[in-house]
Symmetry: C2
Subunit: 761 residues, 2 copies
């Protein structure tokens, strides 16, 4: 079948089947349980067709493609190649042999012996290289944005060529409208399409900083993106700033990115961000100068403020020839001007390239690796970003406001403004706060994700790991002060991978306006919605919310580390099979479950004691004053009671002694002898069996019961009811267990969920 | 008081007071509780004098020193200096001001504001430097073998000089008999003096490898160290080896270190160790050749074996001029000879020196640090040791025997033989096995600890971090395969520090004979005895005992890391306040406690249920057939029973409803209504209160209740009864809690221990 023709049709069909397409296109769509299609539904290519798809469309597809496509795990396969050898960089000696499937969204390699699968999302492919023919076939080297690097050796050169040309078409679309997010469909139970899109509102974030206030106001002049089309509609500026100042300053700044507020500290010191002024060798703009003075005046602590140009002095000077440049201290009163030395996107891109080359060397010496790492300059750049961020954070912490810019104010400025806030404010070190920070300083204020991450075909010189560096710097801070962060390393890796995957619309486009124009909130899912459903995977168990307000980075060179967890992520044998943090979190959850259960049992014992004491009293009354009892029993009402009472007592004594708690508790409870007994009538054995006391140890658990193999990145989760271990897909229900005192909903596996549904009416 | 005179007298007195000296000389002697001296005992300098010290000695001491010495925390103070400023390498801006105490064993710096104390054991001092006078006083730079580096600025130069000269005398004794271990007294409850000395027997270790057997025999020729005085008395050689072969081979090898067995794998492949042959340019020894052939023949798998010379080829060649050298493949049949490139002790010493200089640079650039680290060659050397060890381990794993030597066979040979065994055999990756490995390949087979660690005044060129590198390589393996090791990083750090502290006799002397001659087992304590009392501090919570037999090191340069935990240990701001592993271990213990408690409560509920069912039956009988009950009550015996029964029932109904379980359970239990009731009659409230359900969170706990401050190296321990957090010193009791089903003794604090003693008769 001709792939181009197929793909065109496929896309057409798919648009018809949206939004709740039953064509399980994507990896994330695969349900671990076989689901029966609704009765009477037609199937197309083995997949049930949802009711809203007309018979006409179905038959039209069937006509068009009388040859039914191959499927792998619910994914329609465009190409299937057998006897492919997979060689990864770290395991060149023992290649594994398996089958390669090319689907519309993934390249999937399946090793039949080990049941292991390697999934590569087309959007994650960074480059594809066809290497010279070898004795065993044609090698195809695929480098990924996730730093996986893998070679497939395909026996027939023609087949290799086929896969190669197909991948070239698939991995980097020309149009933004072809990105994965416009096809992607999560599990239908997972989360609704609108989830996440409304989590963060710029106004709410500023309200959080008590803005607007007497010094800062919301400016409506960018409502239609007239002042600056890469800024958000809501911009916050000094109350003193006049319309003329705002317009003039915007015209005097590169890309119209005038100085606006991004962060207000609790001491009135602020961080404002902008782009470089169009000053050239001597140009000045009085209103821009007034604008900066207005910013300074919002903070009465000091009579000066800093203007931080994140660029090396020489870069800034060079820009003057192009009519751009930097602020002249002679014109701008009351500012202290600082150059800091973060290099530009081209230097950063080349640096990461060298890091990857350092890691890819074939049997290098120790010196060769260290020298290559050093000459890549990567750690120097990371340190330089942290250094600049620390400068800003320290200034603000001491009460001095800072205005930050680089050239266009959307790369280095985004990095250091967000990192300074991360250091200053514990809110940004929470999961929600970190997302809000990205939403504000990267998404709202503009960062060219499409170009920097190479989402679509673009000038290769525009690609640069600016956001990766922001995550790297965050990781450096985390490894120095782990207790200050609510999130863990996996959180950063997931962010990194999904910024590149385009599975979600969140990072598509370069600014707020782009995202509105693309109608992403209606057409795609939000990463924040997805992440909200997986929060337990991102928790740092060492987190202490009440740690110091501001944290400082240790900039000593021996404290800036090479992030193996990111760049050597797929290197086998250096990562623990279960991250310590995951095991700790699991152990803490086990404790919580047991504590809750102990509370419950203790209360149960108290109510038993109470019952015993009452019933003993009754027994005493009965034996010591039988006449009185007999007298009381003469009334009808009490007679009835006695009837029931006796009946229940005989039920009690008939209870199976081997299972002393079985089926008996309902009876005690309905005896209602104890007025204090507050717990509802429930079956004790159910209560006791509902909480797993022993949790299955994580050691040597290599697959979930759904047969998904666990690798170093999988989060293993315990079912709180049976104590068995499952993959994230198999634990998607939270219910309250009768054996817990708190009644808090907790994770249970599907099997347990079903059993509990049977038990409770 | 003249310090030298005092010290001389002090040592004299102390010898008299030993072995259970009441002069609380050492840090480890301080009991967190004030202990009252036995009544009527005399006190000397405020410390109770034990009964066996004669009155005469006491008055003689008092006469001699009419000026009573100052004490700090039970330590007699030789020198006390106030207003000292402490500057550490990483905190040069804010020096702390405090008091410096010089005792016979420690330098103690006390910060009065923060209650923080810095203790420096004299034996840990590596160098003392008096720096040029500054405006605030005389600086004294002290570098420690623990990689702590600290400067004390003492206001008066004369006082600084005094401290300086005293320290010079104290930090590195001339005689081995002046080492700390001969003074050191642990807490008297801690462990007996003989504990640890008999934990490891060479014969037992070899028996573990099924040696002797049909191929290997115990040779008695070294019983009096005649063959080789740096070898153990028991040596294991091939059964085929004749007396002539052993004697001749021993004479043909440097220092008499003939080839003997150190490890036999389960596939018959072995590791033998020796020193270089005295081959010069052409000398040969037929018996030595026969000896190696005899070793080869013990393994029928292959017709060859490896001889590994760990040295670079050029070093081995140079040795030929001095009449030493290496095996000539032309003379030795059936061997494959390999040079591997581990540098000598001088290169390693210089390398570590450069690492420390790299870390001590004042505001270095990233490149300066990375370049300095690279040019130190440290990681290259570590990798080279791992590489050689991997070569040996791989050979043995594949069934090929290996004979290993370097020059004298006690530095590089010790490193690679022990590391190869660590890779090959999971036993050596347990706490006990790792100690056994050190006991065998470092202590029994000889390593010059006195010189290499600079225990005593010695040629500075003999000092070298050979053992530190062994620990570093172990750490590299651990960080690659954490689940394969029973122990954690702290275990390695404790070993490192005590190899240098000489607090225990274990690492004193250079070989088995030295240690026997010094009678260390009688005169000093063993580190193994001490460590046996602190095992819970060394557990790696990720350990999986049933992991793969042999593990392989990943030698890719990006996997060889700089061990910050060792060399940058005292750098603030890069280590988490509580190591993740400790928190995990604690959380797992909490789970264990709760599981045990749940078991207990569940059983309790079962017995309650049983009781209720029986008593309900009784009540039913009583109400439905009162005549029958009355009839039964006519017998005396039953009347008596009834009396008791009624009495107990009224006790029951009189029980306080607010504390429903208080004082009531004794009654149920002694009712003996249920024959199945197996648990002994105990008070339920005591049971329930005996297990802490909530454990105090570790966050923000900065001191133990004994006011010992917790730092990054402290192990915090929970009391299982009250759930509070204590230091290691305060939790020294293990008792079974009534609320646990297992009856397993668990850690409780001293307060809880006392309360439990009061409760139980
Ligand atoms: Zn379950
Ligand atoms: Zn699963
Ligand atoms: Zn306690
Ligand atoms: Zn304590």
């Amino acid at each position: 079948m001709d792939i181009t023709r197929f793909m065109n049709k496929f896309n057409e069909i798919e648009r018809q089947l949206s939004p709740t397409s039953a064509l399980r296109l994507s990896f994330d769509n695969i349900s671990p349980e076989t689901e029966e299609p609704p009765d009477g539904n037609k199937r197309l290519w083995g997949v049930p067709v949802p009711p809203f798809v007309s018979e006409k469309v179905v038959s039209w597809i069937e006509e068009e493609f009388n040859e039914a496509p191959v499927f792998y795990n619910g994914n329609s396969v465009l190409k299937k190649v057998e006897n492919v050898r997979m060689i990864d960089r770290y395991n060149t000696k023992n290649p594994t042999v398996g089958t390669l499937y090319l689907t519309a969204t993934h390249l999937i390699f399946v090793e039949p012996d080990s049941n292991k699968e390697t999934w590569i999302l087309h959007m994650h492919v960074a480059s594809i290289e066809k290497l010279p023919l070898s004795t065993t076939g044609s090698p195809l080297l695929i480098r990924c944005k996730t730093f996986l690097s893998v070679t497939f050796v395909i026996p027939k050169d023609s087949e290799c060529h086929d896969v190669y040309t197909s991948l070239l078409k698939l991995f980097q679309p020309v149009s933004i409208n072809k990105l994965y997010c416009f096809n992607y469909q999560p599990n239908k139970d997972d989360f609704p399409k609108n989830a996440g899109w409304d989590y963060f509102k710029l106004e709410a974030e500023f309200k959080h900083m008590l803005v607007p206030n007497e010094a800062w106001t919301l400016c409506s002049m960018n409502e239609k993106y007239e002042l600056c089309d890469t800024y958000p509609r809501q911009i916050y500026v000094p109350k003193e700033a006049t319309t003329l100042m705002l317009i003039s300053s915007s015209r005097f700044r590169s890309k119209g990115r005038l100085p606006v507020l991004t962060y207000l500290h609790n001491n009135k010191a602020s961080i404002c961000r902008c782009s470089q002024p169009l000053s050239g060798f001597s140009a000045r703009c009085l209103e821009d100068e007034q604008m900066l003075e207005a910013i300074r005046k919002t903070n009465s602590n000091t009579d000066y403020m800093y203007v931080v140009d994140t660029r090396p002095r020489i870069n800034a000077m060079a820009n003057r020839a192009a009519g751009k440049g930097y602020e002249n201290e002679a014109f701008y009163e009351n500012i202290k001007f600082h150059f800091l030395g973060i290099e530009n996107i081209h230097v950063q891109r080349a640096s990461l390239q060298k890091v990857l080359e350092a890691c890819e060397q074939k049997s290098p010496t120790m010196s060769a690796f260290i020298n290559a790492l050093e000459s890549s300059g990567w750690l120097k750049h990371i340190r330089s970003i942290l250094d600049t961020s620390s400068f800003i954070a320290n200034a603000v912490d001491k009460g001095v406001s800072v205005v930050v810019h680089c050239s266009d104010g959307w790369d280095r400025t985004a990095q250091v403004c967000s990192l300074a806030q991360l250091m200053l404010n514990p809110y940004y070190r929470t999961i929600k706060g970190f997302q809000a920070l990205i939403e504000k300083d990267w998404l709202a204020f503009g960062h060219k994700f499409s170009e920097r991450c190479g989402h679509i075909q673009t000038d290769a010189r525009e690609v640069s790991p600016i956001f990766t560096q922001f995550l790297d710097c965050t990781w450096q801070l985390m490894s120095q002060r782990s207790e200050a962060f609510e999130f863990n390393e996996r959180f950063l890796l997931i962010l990194h991978d999904h910024v590149h995957s385009c599975q979600f619309g969140t990072f598509v486009g370069n600014c707020e306006k782009d995202r509105l124009d693309l109608k992403l909130a209606e057409r795609t899912f939000s990463l924040w919605g997805y992440m909200a459903n997986h929060l337990n995977e991102y928790i740092n168990p060492l987190y202490k919310p009440n740690v110091d307000e501001a944290i400082k980075a240790n900039l000593a060179p021996q404290c800036i580390k090479f992030w193996r967890g990111m760049y050597s992520r797929f290197e086998s044998g250096i990562h623990p099979r279960e991250p310590l943090g995951d095991v700790l979190l699991d152990s803490k959850e086990h404790c919580n479950s047991l504590e809750d259960h102990v509370q419950h049992l203790t209360k149960r014992i108290a109510s038993f004691k109470n019952y015993i004491s009452k019933s003993a009293k009754k027994l005493q009354d009965a034996t010591s004053a039988p006449g009185k009892v007999n007298k009381e029993l003469s009334s009808n009402e009490i007679n009835d009671n006695k009837y029931n009472y006796d009946k229940k007592l005989s039920e009690l004594s008939a209870a199976d002694d081997d299972h002393p708690l079985k089926a008996s508790n309902m009876s005690f409870a309905s005896l209602s002898l104890s007025a204090e007994q507050s717990s509802p009538p429930q079956a004790l054995p159910e209560e006791i069996n509902s909480v797993a006391v022993d949790w299955k140890p994580m050691r040597n658990v290599t697959t979930c019961s759904c047969s998904t193999p666990f690798d170093q990145f999988s989060k293993k989760t315990h079912c709180w009811r049976c104590g068995d271990i499952f993959c994230e897909r198999c634990i998607d229900k939270n219910v309250a267990l009768p054996g817990h005192d708190s009644g808090k909903p907790v994770p249970v596996c599907r099997g347990c969920f079903r059993q509990m549904q049977k038990q409770s009416p």
